[in-house]
């Protein structure tokens, strides 16, 4: 025990000399810190994009929300349901029943071209035709400006994210739907969900504008309890009059965002990985410089009786300390500049824009700092071994 304490005392002493001498090597130390900060900043900010996208698509969906699509459809765009089919779905057991009937909304999903506020170029904006129950099915949906559209009228409401991302989306403005201009009468929020990127109107009016006859693409429902899912699903999938698939909305949205989040994650890790390789060489250079600059100092300590182990650990700790400083700076920069930053991108599953906010979560910060620590360890290990192997007798005479 006393021996271990003595060893820690040795390590602490040798480490202290190393850390105190950093100001004499501030150039290379700073380069290493900046390199690692860059890696972490890029990694965390790119991954925060995927995290934010994922949170928008599925993070805010309650477990009692379900969606029904035609069997085989992997998105609303390629689904199709007739009105009689939507009635059979709404009447299935398991859904909440309100005073006006079951909480199920048959919906139509189309794309309209609108200019993006930041670039002025037209992008695909999702437009949804809904039934009256839609506002109870998504009970987190709130009007934040203006009023809800009236059923039977050519009016629209827009989500908060759509209002901020696309030009001319303020209350009192108009958007082109088919051949007509429809007035915007309100702005709604939906607890950060993807619906905030959409434009909503009466499904029947939208069918007319887009010549869709009496067809829909999906039915959104609210279960009586989350546990009623299997009952609802089984009754629909065993009904010979229907050929549909039933999913919890959170699962469906997760699958809708999977391709995009995977692509962003892969890209982020690829870019940060390449940068990390550079940062490892930066850290190696810094620590080789440190060992080189401290050759006589290290040899003196070894001559006095300090062990190889304490020298190795001290060099590693110094490398790790510089890396962690870089990691913390990078993580802080990513948080300050990107957390909550809103943008929109094309969701390839629905071919429409989804607006979302970058989310720099604690888990991402930990991931970034872990990367920094790995870079520090890899960058420190070879110089540490070199320091421990210095021939004492000749190193003592180094100037």
């Amino acid at each position: 025990m006393a021996g271990l304490f003595k060893w820690f005392l040795q390590v602490a002493s040798v480490t202290k000399f190393g850390l105190l001498s950093i100001p004499q090597r501030r150039g290379s130390a700073l380069a290493s810190v900046i390199g690692i900060a860059g890696v972490v900043a890029v990694l965390v900010s790119v991954l925060s994009m995927a995290t934010g996208f994922r949170q928008t698509m599925s993070g805010t969906i309650p477990p009692d929300a379900v969606i029904v699509l035609r069997n085989g459809a992997d998105s609303e765009m390629v689904s199709g349901l007739s009105r009689p089919e939507t009635r059979l779905i709404a009447d299935a057991p398991g859904l909440v029943r309100g005073s006006d009937g079951p909480l199920a909304s048959a919906e139509l999903f189309v794309i309209v071209d609108l200019p993006k506020r930041s670039t002025g170029t037209d992008v695909n904006v999702p437009m949804r035709g809904v039934e009256r129950a839609a506002f109870q099915v998504r009970d987190k949906l709130k009007m934040v400006e203006g009023r809800a559209f009236e059923f039977g009228k050519n009016e629209v409401i827009v989500g908060t994210a759509a209002a901020s991302q696309f030009a001319g989306m303020q209350v009192g403005g108009k958007i082109k739907v088919g051949r007509e201009q429809w007035p915007i009468v309100g702005v709604f929020s939906a607890n950060g969900a993807a619906a905030e990127s959409e434009v909503w109107t009466d499904a029947t009016m939208l069918q007319g504008a887009f010549n869709r006859g009496d067809s829909f693409q999906a039915v959104y429902g609210k279960l009586a309890t989350p546990g009623a899912f299997n009952q609802f699903k089984d009754s629909l999938t065993t009904n010979p009059q229907l050929d549909v698939k039933v999913e919890r909305q959170a699962d469906f949205n997760e699958s809708q965002s999977a391709a995009m989040t995977k692509m962003i994650d892969t890209l982020g890790i690829l870019i940060a990985g390449l940068m990390a390789v550079g940062a490892v060489f930066g850290a190696l250079n810094t620590m080789y410089n440190a060992v080189s600059a401290r050759t006589r100092e290290i040899a003196t300590l070894r001559a006095l009786g300090f062990g190889r182990g304490s020298v190795v650990v001290s060099v590693m700790i110094e490398s790790l300390a510089l890396a962690l400083i870089g990691g913390l700076i990078g993580a802080a920069l990513a948080y300050l500049f990107f957390n909550g930053h809103r943008t929109s991108t094309m969701n390839f599953q629905s071919f429409s824009q989804v607006s979302f906010a970058f989310a720099v979560t604690p888990a991402l910060l930990v991931k970034g700092i872990t990367w920094a620590a790995i870079i520090g360890v890899v960058g420190g290990i070879f110089p540490a071994v070199r320091a421990a192997r210095l021939p004492i007798a000749s190193a003592l005479r180094e100037l």
Binding site: A2, K6, L9, Q10, S13, F17, L20, S21, Q24, R296, E297, T300, L301, R302, A303, L304, G305, F306, G307, R308, P391, I392, A393, L396, R397, L399
Partner: protein, 235 residues
């Protein structure tokens, strides 16, 4: 602080030592069949021209390097039987080093530099402080305890180096050109100090020097030439 090494023979026994360095394909014989005995309490000067092998011999005696052939024993303990780890511990307990360029840690003040070898002992902080104060007192630098090396003269830095060398009360004090980087006046001060440590405190000292003025202070001087002892003089 350290138990004096108990032996009936000489404190230092260099027996048939050879040291060969390899440079490319060439073998360089730095020491050849060298024999040297140093009794406890001696102040020995090792003299010789550059490349004669005197510093190499000092490194072998101090356990900083290993002979190619032959053996070095200190207090009856053969160093070639010790692993690197044990040798490091042995150095910490038995050897005090004084270097030509002082080799002080620039980021530590005088007392922290002197304390360094004590970090390898089991002494408490208070005990370490006491030993450091005594060592600095012995070299006449108590008033400079809080000063950093860069604010000290060469002579003062070497005194700190000597205080660091003696703070653990080692069996043997090895000095490699201790006055080699100092002017005559400062050098004389250092030699006075080494002489006092030998005479008044019984320290066994081996000093490498090329300066006859310095070697004159030793009790005995041995000359090395081309890796072999060539002459010996007793004061």
């Amino acid at each position: 602080m350290n138990e004096p090494t108990k032996t009936n023979g000489p404190l230092v026994n260099v027996d048939g030592v050879e040291k060969v360095f390899r440079r490319g394909s060439e073998d360089i014989h730095v020491l050849r069949d060298l024999h040297l005995k140093v009794p406890a309490g001696e102040f020995l000067a090792l003299m010789g021209p550059s490349g004669s092998g005197k510093s190499t011999l000092l490194n072998l005696i101090g356990g900083l390097d290993r002979p190619t052939r032959g053996s070095v024993s200190i207090g009856g303990e053969r160093l070639d039987g010790l692993s690197d780890r044990l040798l490091a511990g042995w150095r910490a307990r038995h050897i005090g080093f004084v270097f030509q360029l002082y080799n002080l840690m620039p980021t530590l003040n005088a007392e922290r530099n002197v304390e360094l070898p004590l970090l390898l002992t089991h002494l408490t902080k208070a005990e370490r402080r006491k030993h450091v104060a005594a060592a600095l007192e012995m070299v006449g630098l108590s008033h400079r305890a809080k000063h950093f090396p860069r604010t000290m003269s060469g002579g003062e830095q070497q005194r700190v180096g000597i205080a660091r060398g003696i703070v653990t009360d080692p069996t043997l004090l090895l000095c490699d050109e201790p006055t080699g980087d100092l002017d005559r006046k400062a050098g004389d001060g250092i030699l006075d100090l080494l002489q006092a440590l030998n005479r008044e405190h019984g320290k066994t000292i081996i000093m490498v020097t090329h300066d006859p003025h310095a070697s004159a202070r030793a009790l005995r001087t041995v000359h090395l030439d081309k890796g072999q002892l060539s002459a010996e003089a007793v004061a």
